[in-house]
Symmetry: C2
Subunit: 375 residues, 2 copies
Amino acid sequence: MKKSDYLVKRNEYFKELMVKEGIDALVALSPENVLYSTGAYIMTQKLIRDRLEIAVFPQKQEPIFIVCGIEESGIKEQTWIKDIRSYVEFKESPVQFLVDALIEMGLEKGHIGIEKHYWNAYYYTELINAMPDATFVECQGIFEDVRVIKDPVEVEILTKASKATRKALEAAFLTAKSGDTELDIAKQIKNNLMNQGADEMAFLVLGTGKRSMLVHPMPADIALSPGDIVKADYGGLFSGYYSDLARSVVVEKPSQIQVEVYKKLATIQKKIINAMKPGIRCCDLFNKCKELYEENELPFIMPHIGHGLGIGLHEDPMLSPLNEKKLQKNMVINVEPLVITDGFCIHLEDLVLITDNGVKILTGAKMSNELPIIG
Amino acid sequence: MKKSDYLVKRNEYFKELMVKEGIDALVALSPENVLYSTGAYIMTQKLIRDRLEIAVFPQKQEPIFIVCGIEESGIKEQTWIKDIRSYVEFKESPVQFLVDALIEMGLEKGHIGIEKHYWNAYYYTELINAMPDATFVECQGIFEDVRVIKDPVEVEILTKASKATRKALEAAFLTAKSGDTELDIAKQIKNNLMNQGADEMAFLVLGTGKRSMLVHPMPADIALSPGDIVKADYGGLFSGYYSDLARSVVVEKPSQIQVEVYKKLATIQKKIINAMKPGIRCCDLFNKCKELYEENELPFIMPHIGHGLGIGLHEDPMLSPLNEKKLQKNMVINVEPLVITDGFCIHLEDLVLITDNGVKILTGAKMSNELPIIG
């Protein structure tokens, strides 16, 4: 199947869920759900939040895509939706365009799913005031339920992205040495990632020595010394999809405790990954991880131990204590245990695809238990 | 003055405006206003929208900063705010923390400024239901009024960022040649920008030949041919601030019409920049630009001809037809006229600082009227 076939298939799945939940129309508002449902990657949607792009999927008619005039030509090249209506920024209200579209669909008194977790209070108020007889319900769950299962086009992108991200980091660590600064290594990782085909860097966290204990240290002009742990957590954007990887290494001379903690953590990560398969509940994985930390006498401070990855950086399913959802085939999940102890931090993060009876590790890593030494 | 002194000064300015508008407390919610008011750059605030960071500035008491536990250590390193309260993600409601803080300040019936243009309908509903006797008003205007005038720390960052961004692009164009692809040039620009000290690439639009006519073409695997216009519009992030620059060049052999259109557009851009000084209204600059297009028989399709730049990519003042605000000293503004005609597009964008009686061009460009030739 081609990419466009998958887009149409997603739309069919939306319709099934809309019928089930009694929703007359589904309105995509966030950059993630607009991309996922229409196929259009609109760069400015993340950068300029006030420039609205709105995709309306009614249960019974053809979809309507309301776009900012300045973006129209680029969107037409990308989307499968035929009815595109453009508004003039700063002159016309895109919310009014949405109201007009919904009324045209006969939904003045409709039951309409919108992204209340995305749209701001200002636009939301404009919408409900303009359509007092309609009911607006949160539709985040519908998008999540479809997006959580990755189709083959998505698995292909995420696999490629995940491997490229690991290689870019490993290559930078291979040539790093005592005396290099955090910024030197960060620059090398970024250059490598672009050369590996990323469209953009999305984020890069890197800290050495005691700074590794910060959860999200920004790389600074600090030189590496023998014995320092170097912790990095970073990702890029590939065709609109994130990669996300964490690694921890030591400069030249590991201490006994660093080696031991690394070995314990890598073993825990492997045990969690080996326990993942369809039917297992997310909260059970979280609790299992917590127990393994306790058995190994490691401090456990994580609010979650992993998360879905895709168009969103943290998406369903979250491996968190209250999430009772079960793993399903073709979910794609980052598993990222972290330990902060004895003046350093070890963080490991790998991406797995849930298969029929287990997982496939998309990062393509060897998953050794030995703390890597650089320099 | 140090950076921290400017942060305290901003807070004093907020208080003045709060008194003037009768607001008891100002609540910063967006990544931009949290960074601007607290000094803390929290990387995940843009990446993970559901992870809330909330800074509350009461008129009469000390500020309170509500942060996600996982980010607390990094935030403490950066902010001047002393009262930091952290919530446990997925277990505790950050909105409830905000409610508790406001009630503690005696503002159960208060008049509270929040960012309705940022906060989503879901959290907003939780907040107003929890505090039915309080009044919540949009406070975007207060943040905009303070942010629109850049302090010296900001001007320094924006100047450095703007020059680095121009140099990175010019260097990539200098070595580009017929046969190179759009992706080759894009990669070179990105590498150059990182080497020039950007923390991140923010966006990169690049199109050649007929694809230059798209407003936001993504660079593709398309080779440059003699006579092609190469249009690029891109920016990076430097210490949380954006750069934003557009340039158009031709490969080897310019046509007569390309040279003429470029000359006309560069002349118009120069005239607009020369007309900028304190007291001039934004809409008058827009209208002047429109008239110049008409005089030169160029098609005018822009909803705006420029925008403020800072922590936000498009911020106040917008040079748009309905904006009657006047330019003031120490505003920083991108001026970006664009023409799509005869099968190609020319786009120019430079950054200026409003001075006592005119502008300083921060891009540091020579502003020639001659279409640059590459290859």
